[in-house]
């Protein structure tokens, strides 16, 4: 089994990728504007509910319950889905899932697949696998279409093209859709996308989706979206294939009451998603006549095995933690090197694909705690980041200079007297670097501090020295 998360295993470390993102003025402007708008809309949509905290608690309780009984619920889902005429496949990793999907498409001699927005297929890099098999994937979500046409990568889990602005999109559409002219308004752009997609919707024989929720009792899947393009993908083609992470299970139809309220308000600041598609198996004469569900593990059972971080699997992919994160706000999503960006990406990617490929991600946070405050399922992301940092250190993944510095500091902090000696040592060591009472340039690791900020010099007398003097005066 080989777990992969898109191209994340080959991604540069966060700090390096972030540095180039920070230099992109257009990207930073777009990300700032977009997150400001979504933050405000979310805050408004949340404030008008009377029972937001109870909803969060209920959602988390349901997710915890599912994670405790996951195997049973998955089997229940399979049985119910099969009884309704669907076929369930089990995939251990990305390659296995892609293989199953390619085989199904091939068995229908289809050359095109129309796709609903799904992060899970980005995780498995399905599009590349389809293309390698001579099958053309067509993204129908407007933002995903923008990403696909631009050979770009998503930078946000809900609004993947958030780093692009209107004029960039207009140029891209004109070039890729071979348009002589195109207006500049959002309406003009969506009209162009509609014309482009409509013919593809009508000729495709295979549709592909992910799922926001998989309902165990009925074997149903649920997809929420804003455009209606997803609705077309899951209703128009003869064959429908859905790729679903095993953690997407909810026990009953009734549980959607909780999640649909939380998801829409957290993700886009809407009271309800414009399109909520729920379907069960196949219905003769109506919609797809063949329905496949591919249940994907790809590292999820490994996450489940770790009690301290398994809450990661409760995520409903609303993106609220990205929008609120002050780090994401500066860098956008690409710096995270994974299709899962922001705080949730910083805990999910390393856990799914193993720490050795992404040991910089747990450190891509100031632990400010804003993500926990907005998370609709109360995932304690800061605590999980700390847990993962500990794992990095235990696996000797930290740089040598840091390990030595931490060791020296730990020794100094073992006794009051040792701290006092260390303070004296620092006071001498700083001398060549102090000018006019401040330190503006330091060598080594600490040079990263002084690149952007001055450091106050260590004063001649520490607090403990002052106190000791004061005490001895008093006792005289």
């Amino acid at each position: 089994m080989s777990v992969k998360v898109g191209q994340a295993a080959a991604a540069p470390a966060f700090d390096k990728a972030a540095r180039s993102a920070l230099g992109n003025t257009q990207l930073r402007h777009n990300v700032r504007n977009a997150t400001d708008v979504i933050r405000a809309r979310r805050a408004h949509a949340v404030a008008e509910t009377l029972d937001w905290q109870q909803l969060r608690d209920s959602a988390r309780a349901i997710k915890d319950h599912v994670l405790r009984h996951l195997a049973g619920y998955l089997e229940q889902f399979e049985t119910a889905c099969a009884a309704a005429g669907g076929k369930v496949h089990w995939a251990r990793d990305a390659d296995e899932a892609n293989g199953i999907i390619v085989d199904i498409v091939r068995s229908h001699n289809a050359r095109e697949v129309i796709k609903v927005k799904t992060m899970t297929s980005d995780e498995t890099a399905l599009n590349a696998a389809l293309e390698a098999a001579g099958i053309t994937p067509i993204e129908t979500d407007l933002a995903d279409l923008i990403i696909q046409l631009g050979a770009d990568k998503p930078s946000h889990i809900v609004v993947p093209a958030l780093h692009r602005n209107k004029s960039e999109i207009r140029r891209l559409f004109m070039e890729k859709m071979h348009l002589q002219d195109l207006g500049e308004r959002a309406e003009d752009l969506t009209a162009a996308a509609r014309r482009y997609l409509r013919e593809r919707f009508l000729r495709a024989s295979v549709g592909f989706s992910g799922a926001n929720f998989a309902i165990a009792e009925s074997g149903s899947l649920c997809v929420v979206e804003s455009e209606g393009n997803g609705r077309m993908c899951v209703t128009l083609p003869k064959v429908l294939i859905s790729l679903v992470g095993v953690e997407k299970i909810v026990p009953t139809f009734g549980d959607l009451e909780v999640f649909l309220q939380l998801l829409a308000r957290s993700a886009t600041g809407e009271r309800m998603n414009p399109y909520n598609s729920i379907w069960t198996g196949v219905t003769p004469g109506d919609g797809p006549q063949e329905f496949h569900v591919v249940l994907l593990d790809n590292g999820r059972t490994g996450v489940l095995a770790d009690a301290e971080s398994r809450a990661t699997l409760a995520c409903i992919r609303c993106g609220a933690c990205l929008n609120i994160c002050p780090v994401y706000r500066q860098t956008g999503g690409h710096a995270y090197g994974s299709i899962y960006a922001g705080p949730i990406g910083a805990i999910l990617t390393p856990q799914l694909q193993g720490m050795k490929h992404s040991r910089s991600l747990p450190y891509a946070s100031t632990l400010c705690g804003a993500c926990l405050d907005v998370c609709p399922v109360k995932i304690d992301i800061p605590s999980i980041l700390l847990h993962l940092r500990h794992k990095v250190v235990k696996a000797h993944g930290a740089p040598l200079s840091e390990r030595l510095a931490m060791k020296a500091a730990a020794r100094a902090f073992s006794k009051g007297k040792k701290l006092e000696s260390a303070q004296k040592l620092v006071r001498i060591a700083q001398k060549p670097y102090v000018h006019d009472g401040v330190i503006s340039r330091l060598p080594g690791m600490l040079g990263s501090w002084t690149r952007f900020r001055d450091l106050p010099q260590v004063p001649a007398e520490s607090f403990r020295q002052w106190w000791a003097k004061r005490q001895s005066k008093e006792t005289l």
């Binding site: 632990l367 990263s448 520490s462």
Partner: protein
């Protein structure tokens, strides 16, 4: 009341004036301050960077040093958060039930400086005079960790001569994040530049906070830019009197 001061390692080393200010305010209000000389560090830097075992040793040391303290005053919300949020877990991860009990007994006696004044000592007016315009950086650990809320503002508003100006986007992190400021220096600096812009827009002379760590970060940029705005821990403002200005 008798108050034991946990000064914190970086205040001890880099910002002794903050410690002196805490002592001065508490003594002025008629309380007795004690400083156990064996104290070192709460372990936060090690814990937050992934060095849990080192942090646990520091926690054990902290418990020994403050075992008999009635009230422990800490002029740092982030160190208080470390103790309140993470000591119980660090203890629980050992099989040592006496350590768990020690932590349970310790945590309720630990107060952030503003909490101690407002909640325990029932003091909002500390008798301070500080004739300057001041804005307050709400540190993440004071906002979401210790949740000390409006207490720093209440204390500032009672200071004579002080003009308080609210900082816009106060809930935004300044980008310090401990070793984050070194490991992700560029992102940290980008966050800091937003914070500096907000502070300068207030036209305040002084930026205060309940954590010198964030102030060292903010003040480091203000100093680099020769911005002419000074960072000062809240305790130093409260210690300032008509006779002795901070």
């Amino acid at each position: 009341m008798k108050v034991s001061l946990f000064i914190t390692c970086y205040n001890d080393t880099l910002f002794p004036a903050t410690g002196k200010a805490v002592v001065s305010v508490l003594e002025r209000l008629g309380h007795t301050v004690d400083f156990p000389q064996a104290q070192t560090c709460c372990g936060q830097m090690h814990y937050n960077t992934g060095y849990q075992d080192d942090a646990r040793r520091m926690m054990r040391h902290f418990i020994e040093v403050f075992r008999d303290a009635e009230l422990i005053c800490v002029p740092s919300a982030s160190c208080v958060s470390m103790i309140r949020e993470h000591y119980p877990q660090l203890a629980a991860e050992t099989a040592d039930s006496s350590l768990v009990r020690d932590v349970e007994a310790l945590v309720p006696r630990v107060y952030e400086f503003c909490e101690l004044l407002v909640d325990k000592l029932r003091t909002v007016d500390t008798g301070a005079t500080f004739p300057h315009t001041v804005t307050l950086h709400t540190t993440c650990h004071s906002l979401r960790g210790t949740k000390i809320g409006e207490r720093p503002v209440q204390l500032l508003r009672a200071v004579r001569g002080l003009t308080y100006i609210e900082l816009p986007q106060a809930d935004q992190c300044c980008g310090f994040g401990g070793t984050f400021s070194i490991k992700n220096a560029d992102v940290s600096a980008a966050m800091l530049s937003d914070k500096i812009r907000a502070i300068l827009d207030t036209q305040a002379e002084i930026c205060t906070a309940v954590d010198n760590s964030c102030l060292m970060h903010i003040g480091g940029a203000l100093s680099r830019q020769r911005a002419g705005v000074r960072c000062l821990h809240l305790a130093e403002i409260l210690a300032s009197t008509a006779a002795e200005a901070a």
